[in-house]
């Protein structure tokens, strides 16, 4: 899976916008949206919000968690805990990037938010490496990673599963089981 595909999934998340046009309720395959009234907040998927924003048809209201104080708290908690802490959104990285790239004029202190989210990401990735290393060292066969987000799993996923696959084969080398017989006729 590529980061762009994770972003594609993230674009299904809902955000609130304030439109400057009026439109009746629209019926889309994934659900109904609207009605849209000028000046009244309405929830839409991120992909639509960005499209409307680019056409200058709305103002975007940042998600509740996209706030300097809250993000500082999240970052500090992430640094304190040994395991992964719950993130405010399963697509926090994707949403930060999308919203800051297309609607940074609607988000207060955009630069600080970018730095804070990047810090949190770096902390979590370093933690992920550390736990992957101890996982391999102790030759574990399973692990629970509750609060990792898709984008984080995705950046090291292929690498980690491939390494564990090699390790499994090297560990079972001496026990000829059903896997060794699979190429027999």
């Amino acid at each position: 899976m590529e980061p762009a595909e994770a972003e594609f999934l993230a674009e299904k998340e809902l955000v609130t916008i304030v439109p400057n046009f009026s439109l009746d309720r629209i019926h889309l395959i994934g659900g109904d949206l609207g009605p849209f009234n000028p000046g009244l907040p309405v929830e839409v998927p991120v992909w639509l919000a960005i499209n409307l924003k680019q056409r200058q048809k709305c103002r975007l209201i940042p998600p509740e968690w996209m706030d300097v104080e809250k993000l500082e708290e999240i970052r500090d908690r992430e640094r304190k805990e040994d395991t992964f802490t719950p993130m405010p959104s399963p697509y926090y990285m994707e949403l930060t990037k999308l919203l800051l790239n297309y609607a940074s004029d609607n988000i207060p202190k955009a630069d600080e938010i970018r730095t804070l989210v990047k810090d949190t990401w770096d902390t979590r990735i370093a933690k992920l490496r550390l736990s992957a290393d101890s996982f391999v060292r102790q030759q574990e066969a399973h692990a629970k990673l509750d609060n990792l987000t898709l984008m984080e799993i995705n950046t090291t996923g292929t690498f980690l599963t491939q390494a564990l696959d090699h390790m499994y084969k090297l560990r079972t080398n001496l026990q000829p089981g059903e896997s060794a017989r699979s190429q027999d006729f």
Binding site: F159, A163, M167, A180
Partner: protein
């Protein structure tokens, strides 16, 4: 184009993958061995003596490719016996257990893990130790591979991979791809549509050149 190309991966277990090019190259590597019985008219084929009729006397030392050694090896009929290559022997196993990171597995291999796994087919009494050493070597080199593959962005990685075995290099590439894809996405390069490398290298005249 790499997405549409599915090469057969190396097997790594007790059995090789029949169509894996890496496994075929790996099984070409030579093994030290000894003829347990006389092998008539085979001196030429095994690179000893000049005449086609010469035979190999019993007990002579041989260098046999792995695939042939596997075919000739039989626990009942003693045709050949196989020795361990020196890097799988105890002296080197001690080096690996001291610090696996200092060993140049490319020079020693370059198919250290695959070849070592295949060696287990020869019923050597040291098999458990060999298997254990290979596994521990991989485990202790894992961190180095992970860190170097996921930190080196836009760098020359040839120095990093120079000492890696072929299997580790594939792993390194997987780590690099994860990092590079993410960085591209973060910088917004993923959303730019570019011409495929196939089209860019296309040698023929473009349609627009035809009028002028």
């Amino acid at each position: 184009m790499s997405e549409a190309y599915f090469p057969v991966d190396p097997g790594l277990g007790m059995e090789e993958n029949f169509l894996s090019l890496d496994d075929i190259l790996m099984s070409q590597e030579k093994l030290p061995g000894r003829a347990e019985s006389a092998l008539p008219r085979l001196a030429f084929a095994l690179g000893q003596g000049a005449g086609t009729g010469d035979s190999i006397p019993e007990g002579s030392k041989l260098e046999i490719p792995l695939w042939l050694a596997k075919g000739l090896h039989d626990s009942k009929r003693r045709i050949i016996s196989v020795d361990l290559p020196k890097i799988y022997k105890e002296a080197w196993r001690t080096v690996f257990s001291a610090d696996a990171n200092v060993v140049d597995l490319h020079k020693m291999g370059p198919y250290y893990y695959g070849f070592g796994s295949q060696l287990l087919n020869f019923d050597n009494p040291e098999n458990p130790e060999i298997a254990q050493t290979i596994l521990q070597t991989f485990i202790s080199r894992f961190r180095r591979i992970m860190d170097s593959s996921q930190n080196a962005y836009n760098e020359d990685t040839s120095a990093l991979v120079a000492r890696l075995d072929e299997l580790e290099r594939a792993l390194f590439r997987a780590g690099q791809k994860g990092l590079n894809d993410f960085q591209c996405w973060e910088k917004g390069q993923a959303s730019q549509i570019t011409a495929s490398s196939l089209v860019q290298n296309y040698g023929k005249r473009k349609f627009t050149d035809m009028d002028g």
